[in-house]
Symmetry: C2
Subunit: 395 residues, 2 copies
């Protein structure tokens, strides 16, 4: 079991990228990561993508990418795990290096979702629901999130004000992130209390409104992994160490969970990641949580141990999760503002944390002196979750 480091990262601006194919986007992000690391050959490549088959009707995308990047004859596989495909691909890249079989590994995540917008995008994501007990009844991910939100609000006293505060925080930070899809700042008056808010922020899946949900985005992100003991030979960058990771699953069908507010896979994945890293939630300087819906940022921050159950929403109102607060969460803007091209998200989270841990971001986005980062990539409605703990290494 070798220690594994991230030595290069790259991302392309998320949003609407009509002019690029899926492989184009993966290639652009990969070239940035290769350039950033300063390497021009890899031993293996992993692609994270969920919708190539459903949306683009394209398979063998890893074979296409390895050739497009002139990285032949490197091994190339695609990893799919719904919206946690990115996390899973990074995990398998880490295993490939840790095993001793591969040294330099590229992981690229991407999704071209804007070919299916509106209900078609929601329907694409719903291809991950249970094909007999969920999909035929019309339940979608926003629908599940709405029901989850109602239960979580009742059980833990989460208020709509807390949710709105997350939307505002993440869109404010997203407006500072050149890679973010959503550049528009919002105010509490505009989305919550004014007569205009009914028009501007209509209910989507009650109690969730439009601004509680992530947009439908195109995008890609990539990173380069290598054994920690080869970092100095391969790159000039400060290495970021993959201190720990975790992955856990829960029932495919949401209705089968004894307590649907209990995101067991989130708790377990985080526990595994912290145990392997020999670290605790208190050691984390900056976190990227999977806020596809605002409620998830609160629920995840509690399930992974940053706050006690019922305290996550209060922490948001108290400004504890803002930049400059006790634990800045989604300084990138999160899925809410950066966007959520599903296959890209898990990789993009690690790219953002790498920038944070290398202290390379502009002052208005940098968590000062960040030493350790944490991410949750949330697959299905919490049925397959991947967590990472990253540490700033020595140059």
């Amino acid at each position: 079991m070798r220690d594994v480091a991230i030595i290069g990262v790259g991302m392309i601006p998320f949003g609407r990228r009509d002019e690029d194919t899926l492989v184009d986007m993966l290639a652009y992000a990969s070239m940035k990561a290769l350039d950033d690391a300063g390497v021009d050959a890899v031993d293996a490549l992993y692609v994270a993508n969920m919708g190539g088959g459903v949306i683009q009707r394209q398979t063998a995308i890893a074979s296409a990418l390895v050739d497009r990047l002139s990285l032949l004859p490197a091994a190339a596989d695609l990893v799919e795990n719904g919206p946690a495909s990115g996390g899973s691909a990074v995990k398998n890249g880490v295993l490939a290096v840790a095993s001793g079989y591969y040294d330099v590994v590229l992981v690229a995540g991407g999704e071209k979702m804007r070919e299916v917008t509106g209900w078609r995008a929601t329907d694409f994501v719903a291809t991950l629901t249970h094909p007999q007990t969920e999909y035929p009844y019309g339940i979608t991910l926003p629908g599940m999130a709405g029901m989850f939100t109602r239960l979580y609000m009742e059980k833990y006293g989460v208020t709509r004000e807390m949710l709105v505060e997350i939307a505002i925080k993440n869109q404010t930070m997203g407006a500072l992130n050149p890679y973010a899809h959503v550049e528009m700042m919002i105010t509490k008056e505009g989305v919550m209390d004014s007569p205009h808010s009914v028009v501007n922020n209509p209910p989507g899946a009650t109690p969730l409104h439009l601004y509680d949900m992530c947009p439908v985005s195109d995008g890609a992100a990539a990173l380069i992994l290598c054994p920690l003991d080869r970092v100095k030979e391969l790159t000039k960058n400060v290495p970021v160490i993959v201190a720990g990771f975790g992955q856990a699953t829960d029932t495919h069908t949401l209705a089968e969970r004894e307590d649907p507010t209990d995101l067991k896979a989130v708790t377990l994945a985080a526990q595994q990641a912290f145990e392997r890293a020999k670290m605790k939630p208190e050691d984390i300087s900056v976190a990227e949580l999977h806020d596809a819906f605002t409620i998830l940022e609160i629920a995840e921050s509690e399930h992974v141990g940053f706050f006690k159950k019922g305290e996550g929403g209060k922490a948001v109102l108290a400004g504890k999760t803002k930049l400059g607060g006790q634990l800045p969460i989604n300084v990138s803007g999160g899925l809410k503002a950066r966007g959520h091209p599903v296959g890209a998200t898990g990789v993009a989270q690690i790219v953002e944390l790498t920038w944070q841990l290398r202290h390379e971001l502009p002052k208005e986005r940098q968590v000062k002196g960040a030493k350790a980062g944490f991410s949750i990539n949330f697959g299905g409605f919490g049925n397959n979750v991947v967590a990472f703990v990253l540490k700033r290494g020595e140059k």
Copy 2:
């Protein structure tokens, strides 16, 4: 880097399985593998599948399977690499165990292809071709194979008689394999020389005829991996050791290869597998090659070093690759007769080799005293190839 062993295997009969969903098939094969090993929990699960998105419009199949098998909260990912998805999933399972992070790993490969038959099946497989330079021009995998066959025949003196001999050999063996899709025996007179052969064995992609091509099949296969040093504690089976593996890529577009008869990725993947195993082609007792088209059995047997270039076809005519010959190839019937449910194939090859190396097959199918096995799983048209070298271990 830990040594990895296969301690359980399972397969369901390939063919037309209208009554089963894709997840049903994966679950049945997995339950057989778990039963065979004698384990009832795993740390991680890998699914190999190519067409879930394109054919079934279903994603997150690994999350569905892990729940269906009551293996929660095990980590679960899907691996896709076109027709070599099975080989890639097994490889990633091996890396997961070798890394030291996971001990007991289930790998299940499956495909439900009969929902799209005829040209639609060919069109589904063509989703792996280049979306700009190949697919729009109507080239399909049989088309590529036809052109490849013509060139290979001209360059290396392969004859139609040699191809027909492979079809007969593999269908004869398939008729003895209860897991094979094609149960019909064929004769040289029936498919090559008689007036009836024009009707019974029409040209498909000249010079390939109907019986040179694998059928469109549903099916699934699964296996259980663990560290070699935990075998005795976990199972009563003779372990089969993953002595080596290799994976290599080639140009996505067939037309870009300097010499299209040179399957570079096959050669490289085999070299890697033999080097890691510290073994040579001469050490192999039984091989499963990827005979989606009869020509590939000859071409692969030469590229991996079993025979010199130009000698593979002669070896077939001389009976060297039959059961009882110098090196029995595709005793299972191969893709030609067992069938080629694409995501299942790479796993099914390893399952067959495991039975061979455990000496468990009926006399008419068993390679006597088999000590080492070899497989080639051929993705794209040779653009992403996975090879394995397996060894019989000590009980």
